[in-house]
């Protein structure tokens, strides 16, 4: 069993020693197995996005160690071992859909023909092959987010880091995108670390849900979901799905009471 991500005893402090010091993460440990789908869920300020950025080497831990595919996060970033997607699709408006997907490949120095072939392959994967020459502003929000996922996966990274990628979508599109993401990840064998605010989203997508709490940010419990991997729309109505939602909600509530009775859900 290989570990895609190994986080050990990580602390992250912003503005250390100053009046506005923030203990974003305290003693965080997390092991993600290759091929696993992990969600990070918790109230605002629990450090879930910070944890994601530490794994991505966009931030440095104050203490503790992180390994990605057995390497330092920095090496993993230089090797483009992971792809990233954010709440805003963040497509470059001056580039066509295809050129947006090609961006990470350009930076890797791939030649034009190879880039183009891969971009078309990714468009097939996200089921938008006919929008290859469209400009981003001609796409709907859901389509834009699919292109962002295609871009994140273009270099075939083994790990996908997602920060509330469906947060700006309406409920219908969101559920559709969740099913699509599971299909894509199953097809590409990608490991996913997924930050979300939504309990049903976390339960539906994940093998394990990591529940975090704020002040200081820490992991309070890790809940294995154990839903069938071939989940479909029926899964959303299954009893086990609701049981797990309740379990995560109670874990969140417990952690919030522990954090001083804050309740913003």
């Amino acid at each position: 069993m290989t570990l895609a991500v190994n986080v050990t005893a990580v602390d992250k402090v912003f503005n250390a020693g100053r009046p506005n010091q923030v203990d974003a993460l305290t003693d965080v440990g997390l092991q993600v197995t290759a091929g696993e789908f992990i969600s990070l869920i918790g109230p605002s300020g629990c450090g879930k996005s910070t944890l994601l950025r530490l794994i991505a080497d966009l931030l440095q831990p104050t203490a503790g160690t992180i390994e990605v595919n057995g390497k330092s996060p920095r090496q993993a970033r230089l090797d483009q071992d992971y792809g990233m997607a954010f709440q805003q699709a963040g497509l470059f408006e001056w580039r066509s859909v295809t050129k947006n997907i090609e961006l990470p490949l350009e930076l890797k120095g791939w030649d034009k023909a190879k880039r183009h072939d891969r971009a078309l392959e990714m468009l097939e994967l996200v089921k938008l092959p006919d929008r290859a020459n469209a400009m981003p502003w001609q796409l709907s929000g859901g389509q834009q987010q699919r292109i962002a996922i295609a871009r994140a996966l273009a270099a075939h990274p083994s790990l996908l880091l997602m920060d509330e990628p469906f947060g700006a979508l309406d409920e219908m599109t969101r559920e559709h995108m969740q099913a699509e993401l599971l299909r894509i990840c199953a097809a590409t064998q990608t490991t996913v670390v997924f930050v979300t605010h939504s309990i049903p989203e976390a339960v539906y997508l994940s093998d394990r849900v990591v529940v975090m709490s704020a002040g200081p940010g820490r992991i309070t419990s890790i809940i294995p979901v154990g839903l069938d991997r071939s989940r479909d729309e029926g899964t959303r109505e299954a009893k086990r799905f609701y049981d797990k939602i309740t379990e995560v909600r109670e874990a969140l509530r417990g952690s919030e009471v522990g954090a001083g009775g804050r309740d913003d859900r």
Binding site: L58, L78, M84, F86, G90, F92, S96, L103, L107, K108
Partner: protein
Amino acid sequence: MKGVKRKGSLRPLIFGVLALALLLAAWESYRNWIGPWLGTEREVGKVLGFKLLPRANDLAMPSVFDMGREFGKPQVRGSSTSVFQAVAEGTFNSLKLAVAALVLGTIVGIGAAILMARFKVVQRGLMPYLVISQTIPLIALAPLTVTWGGEISFFGFEWQKWTSALVLGAFLSFFPIAVGALRGFNSPDPAALELMDSYASSWWSTWRKLRLPAAVPYLAPAMRLAGSAAVFGVVVSELSVGLTNGVGYLILSYMQEGTSRPAKVFTAVAGTIVLGLLMAAIINAVDRYLTRNRPQEELS
């Protein structure tokens, strides 16, 4: 904040022509009817004891029709060149110089903006100089550049009067470009910069693939300011350093015939207006080309 794209509509053109016609009509009615009625033909008219209203005679306010006729007359008595030819040629010469000045100013301005975006220290250090540079009166600087330039010569290149006009035009136009480009280079979303970081993109790759294209909507209004600055710089330098083949110098030389041919100087003034309009048209074309694939934005 971003530029508004005009569709290829004739409306601005029609309104422009109407505005010009209105201005000329106002000019004509003042000198023909309003002036004489107020009695300002012989002396400057007074309002509440202040001398405010211009004299309505042929010397101070020649008729629009006389100005029109001047275009057809010979440049000087017995010359085969008409005033129209001279003004057109002067305008074209000044336009070439102003476009060259704008190109030079754009290169220098973008270069300065790159340095400022790359190194925060440079931004803090350079910005005060940039601001001060724009407070120096051009008229004072123009003759100096001729003196200084006279001592410069390299690879067979000798400083000419047009070099002074070029440098001064560029000197005026680089500032709005530098400021606009800097804002543009710093405009990308933090998430977009994080995305580039996640690809381990170098600063230069990020500049080329993200910061530079993101700056394009900021460059269009900057170019418009820089374009008129370049025209102004070139025309004023022509006057100041005595560059005789430009339309700016024509104003000076035609002015000397103020008593014999008072309408003549207005032909050169018209040339400078056309010069400004041509510059604006060129910049519009460049803007449209650069933003051809961008979303169209409405004024809000």
